[in-house]
């Protein structure tokens, strides 16, 4: 184990998997110079047959991924920003997600699409979306949302070796975060959540970029006497419903944090799932902490007004926390009284 940055963990996974299997190829816009950082060094090592710049044409790139996979390669397509998922959505929704069933199971689609999501960098509306919820609704598409360097490495390796299309969602601006990363063969299974922090009072499901503020929130809440269990689902498709339901059985309370916009978000999905299958355990309303139903504004103050952070999470948790909230500090009580953003 060594401490590595998130982006280096991704780079390591790419190196290892390309070494391992000559059928793995990477293409996308400006992947050769690796401006997103994750592909750094691959060109020098593997040459232009295995990693190649493309023209700007997302609609074709997603379709090419389908074709190259159908013809026998193991494809990694780099889409840069998750907003460009919309740009290339046709072949994602109409081909990638459907090819296997439409062909009666003939097609294998070993495709990994990498895209960076999320706001916070004053990149404005067209470069800040958290665009995985539409993918979740397509069926046929796996979605991985690593929050830590170790999971970034392990989930990417699993994605590349898998035979189903997977969107590997990089938490934007998290490239610099450090964490222990196991050397070599480190595979994280899909559909296995981790308990990032154990707790008894409340279950806090935090997706990708929300894990860090969720853990910070849990720490503050501990001081207030609320013992929060933080769960990182790691993949949204497949989803580890059992882990979340087990935690809710223990705590009776659920907050779900997702940087995506609220409506039809992964947070909505998880909330619905627990309202359906974990209802009897619930002692309080479920709370979603998400970006409200707006696009991301440019101005940093407006951006932080809409993107959830530890404060927003704390407020939501306090709103549904157990009766001992009466012991809370005055500040926490004031916070709990505030409205959720956008509500």
């Amino acid at each position: 184990m060594a401490k590595k940055r998130y982006i280096h963990a991704i780079n390591e996974a790419l190196f290892e998997e390309m070494e391992r299997d000559p059928k793995v190829i990477v293409f996308g816009e400006d992947v050769e110079l690796a401006i997103m950082g994750d592909c750094r060094g691959l060109l020098a090592r593997f040459g232009r047959d295995r990693i190649r710049n493309t023209p700007i044409c997302e609609q074709t790139l997603t379709g090419m991924a389908v074709g190259a996979a159908a013809a026998g390669h193991r494809v990694i397509l780099h889409l840069m920003f998750s907003n460009f998922i919309y740009t290339g959505m046709d072949a994602i929704g109409n081909q990638m997600a459907k090819m296997r069933l439409m062909s009666g199971g003939q097609a294998r689609m070993p495709i990994t699409v990498i895209a960076s999501y999320g706001g916070g960098g004053a990149n404005a509306a067209q470069h800040s979306d958290t665009a995985y919820p539409p993918l979740l609704n397509l069926g046929g598409i796996n979605v991985a949302t690593p929050a830590t360097p170790a999971d970034a490495k392990g989930l990417l390796k699993t994605a590349i070796r898998g035979n189903n299309p997977t969107f590997f969602m990089e938490a934007g601006g998290r490239g610099g975060e450090q964490g222990e990363v196991p050397e070599g063969e480190h595979l994280v299974p899909f559909g296995k959540a981790v308990i990032a922090r154990e707790g008894r009072d409340l279950t806090l499901v935090a997706i990708g970029s929300m894990l860090k503020p969720a853990l910070a929130a849990a720490k503050s809440l501990a001081v207030e006497g609320v013992d929060v269990e933080v769960i990182d689902p790691r993949t949204l498709v497949p989803f580890d419903a059992a882990a979340v339901l087990a935690s809710v059985r223990k705590t009776g309370r659920l907050v779900v944090c997702d940087e995506a916009r609220e409506r039809c978000s992964a947070a909505s999905e998880i909330a619905a799932l627990v309202a359906e299958r974990g209802f009897d355990s619930l002692k309080a309303p479920i709370r979603r902490v998400t970006t409200p139903n707006v696009c991301i504004p440019y101005a940093p103050n407006a951006e932080s007004r809409v993107i959830p952070g530890a404060d927003t999470i704390i407020r939501a948790c306090l709103q549904i926390s157990p009766a001992k909230t009466s012991l809370f500090s005055a500040a926490a009580q004031r916070a709990a009284g505030d409205l959720l953003p956008g509500a």
Binding site: F27, T60, G63, M64, V66, G67, Q95, M102, G104, N163
Partner: protein, 330 residues
């Protein structure tokens, strides 16, 4: 180098393949009318020479992408007839186990990457497949069939660009049948379509798509070029859709018209199968009886295929769950 024109035996093979497509589709037309097919069918009647002339040069390992009007491409590339008809009947013995239907007939084992209900989808799939083929260095070639209407999808340009830049082993075959659904090409398609490829320095060939030998010759050159690593070619084949855009289109049209009956009649006179039959029959009585044998053989095969489909079990509904992912529940 192959010869410039098809030999007599090759012409017979082309004839047989075209007739197989024709008779199969005539039967599908009738079965559709009789209400025996669950979904819609888009027929290729009148355009058989294109798929047939092109696919004659393809190996089993070569790949094609096809369209919503895909029966002809599937059969020309060697797809199994029974399995196709069973698919259209939504049977468990269908090539896609009843999950795809007419618009999605595919046989990946034979390089048939599928008919496709999204107009223009084949461009990018074919380009990706051609990239894969190029990297694999096994001499595989990819052919992308698409319509004049599909040529207006921008992914055509995107793929022309990539195919040209990367010298992909890819042949673009535009089946210009003069209509994009109910819109005449002149109203929705500007300029000569093959000029779009010329702008990317891709060699182009414009052929009479109702002359199977002409298609065969153009395709031979293009496919050889691709196989030799000399890059993509664009073939524009002019032909005509005899049937409606889809069977029973008149229900959609509600009495409206978008073309003249005389035009259809004129093109029926230019039937690629009839003219080849005439040419071959003129060679002598041996050929005439060979033509007759082919006809009856094909009629039997088509009958057999429909019987096979009808006798097959309906599709297994649970496949909708088990086939969504490879080794994973949806």
């Amino acid at each position: 180098m192959t010869r410039a024109a098809p030999s007599r035996d090759e012409l017979f093979a082309l004839y047989e393949r075209m007739l197989l497509i024709r008779r199969t589709e005539e039967r599908l037309r009738d079965e559709n009318k009789a209400g025996n097919l669950p979904g819609a069918v888009h027929l290729y009647i009148g355009e058989e020479a294109v798929a047939t002339g092109v696919c004659a040069h393809l190996r089993a390992t070569d790949m094609i992408t096809s369209t919503h009007r895909g029966h002809g491409h599937y059969l020309a590339k060697g797809g199994d007839l029974n399995a196709m008809v069973a698919e259209i009947y939504a049977r468990r013995t269908g090539i896609c186990r009843g999950m795809g239907g007419s618009m999605h007939v595919a046989d990946f084992s034979k390089g048939i990457l599928g008919a496709n209900g999204i107009v223009g989808a084949g461009f990018a799939i074919a380009t990706g497949a051609a990239y894969s083929a190029q990297l694999a260095k096994e001499g595989r070639v990819v052919v992308d069939f698409f319509g004049d209407g599909a040529s207006n999808q921008g992914t055509l340009m995107e793929c022309l660009n990539i195919a040209s830049l990367w010298h992909l082993p890819l042949v673009f075959v535009c089946e210009h049948n003069r209509f994009s659904e109910f819109s005449p090409a002149s109203t929705v398609t500007s300029g000569q379509i093959s000029d779009r490829a010329r702008a990317f320095a891709i060699p182009t060939l414009v052929v009479d798509g109702n002359d199977v030998a002409a298609v065969w010759e153009a395709a031979r050159a293009a496919i050889e070029r691709a196989r030799d690593g000399r890059g993509p070619t664009f073939i524009e084949a002019h032909t005509y859709r005899i049937q409606g855009h889809m069977e029973a289109e008149s229900l959609l049209l509600g009495g409206q018209h978008y073309r003249d009956d005389a035009e259809i009649e004129g093109w029926k006179q230019r039937c690629p199968i009839t003219s080849l039959r005439k040419q071959l029959a003129a060679l002598g009585s041996v050929e005439v009886s060979r033509l007759e044998q082919i006809e009856s053989h094909i009629m039997a095969r088509v009958d057999e295929a429909v019987k096979f489909a009808v006798a097959s079990e309906p599709a297994d509904p649970e496949l909708a769950f088990s086939l969504m992912f490879d080794g994973q529940q949806p």
